[in-house]
């Protein structure tokens, strides 16, 4: 490598482009094999199973689109869709609002900023099963610490995850606690990349902090907020660990989202064909949202 430093100073005329592009593919071959086996094979095989009646044992007759049409009549599935939408909408909006607020705070200089930011990020890195267990204990109606805290400020106890009317908002609270940091990090990255001139001009004009946020920061960071929103949308749709551990879809089925129903159908009732059909629908949904994400990325060519 001693020679390279000298040659960089010279104008380089390496044949760029196609010939090289093709050879660089070799680098991707081993990973491509893995992707083929553990990612593409499951996709194709899921599609195959979704048009069969497939229980763990016994014959697997071809049933065409019956699994798909079943969804149209399956009330449990439809309720799961409704709940998923409810949970997802709330789990996008709340972290987004808090995350933008947090990003604005962490963008300014103050003592212990690094430490505060690290502590703030911890919930997102912690093992979801572990934190879910602790939340479960905190939600305990009689002995839980949360109801005690409510009583100290004079509020009536909540039934948290033990009542069908409060279970989803409670799970949204856990989700918000866990994932606001990701929104904060993305938006913070956006704020860090902003030019300083508009702020200096605004300060000279005597603008307030709120005015600067509203008319300078917000419009400029908007693309980052949108990216955070799409990522949050995908992650919220996929939520599994916390709901599974804290409520297992209960009480009754009142917190049974698509992902939980999917799990139950495939691995509790072993109805693999119907489960696969749900996977396909779910997958198409996620795919459409991902395309949205790609579009944002292409339009906003940052860095």
């Amino acid at each position: 490598m001693s020679t390279t430093t000298a040659t960089t100073l010279l104008p380089v005329a390496v044949p760029r482009g196609r010939a090289y592009a093709r050879r660089y593919w070799m680098f991707a071959v081993p990973a491509a094999v893995i992707v083929l086996v553990v990612i593409l094979f499951p996709w194709v095989f899921t599609l195959f199973m979704s048009v069969h009646e497939w229980k763990v044992s016994g014959a697997t007759p071809f049933v065409g689109l019956a699994n798909y049409t079943h969804m149209l009549h399956d009330e449990r599935f439809q309720w799961a869709v409704v709940r998923t939408l409810y949970f997802t909408a709330a789990s996008v909006i709340a972290p987004l609002l808090l995350g933008v607020w947090a990003a604005v705070c962490f963008a300014s200089n103050f003592r212990f900023r690094g430490l505060a930011r690290t502590l703030f990020v911890l919930p997102m890195m912690a093992t979801p099963v572990a934190i879910s267990l602790v939340w479960t204990m905190m939600f305990h109606p009689q002995l839980g610490v949360l109801n005690y805290l409510l009583s100290t400020v004079g509020l009536p106890p909540s039934s948290w995850v033990y009542d069908s009317s409060t279970v989803i908002p409670t799970l949204v609270m856990v989700e918000t606690w866990q994932w606001t940091p990701l929104v904060m990090l993305i938006v913070l990255g956006g704020i860090a990349s902003l030019p300083q001139d508009p702020y200096e001009a605004a300060i000279l004009d005597g603008a307030s902090a709120w005015q600067m946020f509203r008319h300078i920061t917000l419009p400029l960071v908007w693309p980052f907020i949108m990216v955070a929103a799409v990522i949050r949308l995908i992650d919220a749709l996929k939520t599994f660990d916390t709901i599974y551990v804290i409520t297992l879809g209960g009480p009754g089925t009142s917190s049974e989202t698509l992902n939980i129903l999917l799990y139950q159908t495939a691995f509790a009732y072993y109805d693999l064909g119907y489960g696969s059909a749900m996977v396909v629908v779910f997958f198409v949904l996620i795919l459409l949202i991902s395309l949205l994400l790609l579009k944002f990325r292409q339009r906003e060519a940052w860095r």
Binding site: T3, R23, T118, V129
Partner: protein, 282 residues
């Protein structure tokens, strides 16, 4: 908005400062209080844990819950399982994913990049039905192999995605110079690009490890009694010991402590990875 007089300006600044500190306090305290409460639960005896009003400071703190976890459950085995699975899945992902990220970045293979992105955002659950059947046919259920293989579903896309971003950001001149000097593209990759990308590899490694360590869903379906990873094991503590909170909190802390420590120590790398990986990946 008119503003005259220095004192008014100063008052407003002071309020702004106070508001900032108050905001940060409000934002950080749910995380801090949560983990402190987790610690408190794990260090108290059963009597204090089920007391009402709750006991906040363990008095005296006891380690018996941690001893309990290792004695009553086979947590040592599960820890070893977790270490084997996460290290293998991360190592293999780096081995395959770093060159792949380089190739995709250099060839500007946007379709391959899109495929990786889709793989990253697909719910893990959707891979499980076919892989479950596959491993059943192969007779691998009950061994650690299916876990390592399925964890590749998580680690490979993360590594490839972070590395694409990293290699794209590197200036290409050095490698081109090496090529002019007669190096093969493999040599240019190993001796020029890889050393420059070491920080990126570090980031990819940490994140791949954390996500593999935290994974629950693959283990819950594919692991047998002796092949449980820690998150699955700790969930089983919940189902079998309904109300003994001390051991439960201790077990939860054991599972998540390595990840929390890693986050505290490597916060810069993790933040860098999450913003590139997050913004660019999802």
């Amino acid at each position: 908005m008119s503003k005259r007089g220095i004192s008014r300006h100063r008052v407003r600044r002071w309020f702004g400062r106070a508001g900032l500190y108050l905001s940060v306090l409000l934002l950080v305290s749910p995380a801090v209080l949560f983990f402190l409460w987790m610690l408190s639960l794990s260090l108290k005896n059963e009597l204090d844990n089920t007391a009402y009003p709750p006991v906040f400071i363990p008095h005296p703190p006891t380690l018996s819950n941690f001893v309990d976890v290792f004695q009553k459950n086979d947590f040592l085995t599960y820890t070893i399982n977790s270490v084997i699975v996460s290290f293998s899945a991360t190592g293999l992902a780096l081995l395959f994913g770093v060159p792949a990220g380089y190739g995709i970045a250099k060839a500007k293979a946007t379709k391959a990049a899109a495929l990786i992105l889709i793989a990253r955002v697909t719910p893990g659950l959707s891979y499980l039905i076919p892989l479950f059947l596959l491993f059943q046919w192969l007779g691998l259920i009950g061994t650690l192999t299916p876990l390592v293989i399925t964890h590749l579903v998580i680690t490979v896309p993360i590594v490839v995605w972070i590395m694409i971003g990293f290699f794209e950001g590197l200036p290409g001149e050095l490698e081109e110079a090496a090529l002019v000097d007669g190096a093969t593209i493999w040599q240019a990759f190993v001796h020029v690009a890889m050393p420059l990308a070491r920080p990126g590899i570090m980031v990819a490694m940490i994140l791949a490890f954390i996500f593999s360590w935290n994974n629950f869903i693959f283990g819950v379906v594919l692991a047998g009694r002796t092949t449980r990873t820690l998150p699955v094991a700790v969930y089983n503590v919940l189902t079998f010991e309904q109300i003994s909170w001390g051991p439960l909190a201790a077990a939860a802390l054991i599972v998540t402590a390595p990840v929390l420590l890693l986050t505290l120590l490597m916060q810069k790398e993790i933040v860098a990875g999450l913003t590139t990986g997050g913004v660019k990946g999802g």
